[in-house]
């Protein structure tokens, strides 16, 4: 029972109160770069969720069974980024073969996931927080879902910003950042959320 509570609090934390974008600042680049339209944003969100789940599983195994026994923990960063880069490459080839429609929909965003700091971030945080295997995978997937939620909400607001009236100097990134700031303020409201 205790286990379920822990998983539940990890889930709520990753999606709402400790959202990767709004409270931990991980994955801001794709969040700002790929949020001009809702459909590309949701595609990116789904791809990131998938990669984050898979990456946290594999990096946890790599850390537990290769790095720790060989006393190579200081190579964590290098090992993890290599795992993530090859994972993304593998997923790209797999999708191209098995699901060409999804592959074309994601297009350029797939290779960009390698440099998404949310993916490397979740791998490092799993180790830092001493999560076990199941907790790591849950944290990865729900962290991705939090990213998906944030980017879809943000993209739908950004679509409407076109009609808004604001000073000319704020055109482009600045107004997007201010919008994201207001959303972060809204997400701060979840910080009181606690599970037992």
């Amino acid at each position: 029972m205790q286990e379920i509570y822990t998983l539940l609090s990890i889930t709520l934390g990753a999606i709402l109160s400790n959202n990767f974008i709004f409270s931990q600042f991980l994955g801001i680049c794709p969040f700002l770069g790929v949020s001009k339209k809702v459909d590309t944003a949701s595609g990116m969100g789904i791809a990131v969720t998938f990669v984050m789940g898979l990456a946290s599983a594999i990096t946890w195994l790599v850390n537990k069974f290769i790095l720790v026994p060989l006393d190579l923990s200081y190579m964590q960063t290098v090992a993890f980024i290599l795992v993530i880069a090859s994972l993304v490459q593998f997923i790209e080839m797999f999708l191209q073969k098995a699901m060409p429609s999804l592959y074309t929909a994601l297009g350029i965003y797939l290779p960009l996931i390698t440099t998404n700091c949310a993916v490397l971030g979740v791998a490092l945080l799993n180790i830092q927080n001493n999560y076990n295997f199941i907790e790591s995978v849950v944290y990865g997937v729900t962290g991705g879902l939090g990213f998906l939620l944030a980017i879809v909400l943000f993209a739908s607001i950004r679509e409407r910003l076109v009609f808004a009236d604001y000073p000319k100097a704020f055109e482009g990134f600045p107004i997007a950042l201010v919008t994201a700031g207001l959303m972060a303020l809204a997400f701060m409201g979840f910080s009181g959320l606690k599970v037992w």
Partner: protein, 210 residues
């Protein structure tokens, strides 16, 4: 190569954060105290310069197809060095920057400069580019830190001056605490980029009217 021009580009006209809009995560996440901003800026400066030098030295040997993988391995190597050095000599900084030190690997500034500059230019020019862009990044971080710390906590030089508490400039009950939270990062950076765009378009207009 004109070094003065490169310096001006890194600092103002092609500033990595304010104009190229790269490396946002660390810019917003760690700029809550002066010490953090300075430490992060200098770490990135060192890593950027070192990786620029190595990448531009290796640019003729490495095949085009695997260049991104090569960039990442080189950068990850330097990041690991800096991470270990900080842990050994400045443990307080390493603790307060936390996961954002290893995350320099995926900081788009470094990968972006590797792809856009050092893969195409000589070793010396790349080294200078690394230093200039690094200085541009550090300056923006420090400006962000000073604004957020002054308005958010009412102090200056936190983590470094006055036994780490910083010098209090605004009495405790007045600062806007919100600015030290994530919200403040987004708002302050948004306003800074807006100010930069305004200044750049103004100077452009002036040139055109001449």
């Amino acid at each position: 190569m004109n070094f003065g021009k490169q310096f001006k580009e890194g600092l103002i006209t092609n500033n990595p954060v304010l104009v190229q809009v790269l490396g946002m995560c660390s810019t917003m996440a760690i700029t809550t105290s002066f010490f953090n901003g300075l430490g992060m800026g200098l770490s990135v400066l060192v890593i950027l310069t070192a990786s620029n030098i190595v990448i531009s030295a290796m640019r003729k040997v490495v095949p085009d197809k695997i260049r991104i993988a090569m960039f990442i391995v080189v950068i990850a190597g330097f990041v690991t060095c800096v991470d270990l050095l900080l842990k050994a000599f400045v443990p307080a900084l390493s603790e307060s920057l936390g996961v954002f030190i290893p995350l320099i690997v995926v900081n788009c500034i470094i990968l972006g400069r590797a792809e856009a500059f050092s893969y195409k230019n000589g070793v010396l020019a790349s080294a200078v580019d690394g230093i200039c862009q690094g200085i541009g990044y550090t300056v923006v971080l420090i400006i962000m830190c000073v604004i957020r710390e002054l308005l958010g906590a009412g102090t200056f030089g936190g983590g470094l001056l006055n036994n780490g508490d910083g010098i209090r400039l605004i009495p405790e009950q007045f600062p806007i605490g919100m600015l030290t939270f994530p919200v403040g990062g987004f708002l302050v950076l948004g306003c800074l980029i807006a100010a930069m765009q305004w200044a750049l378009s103004k100077s452009k207009n002036k040139e055109e009217s001449k």
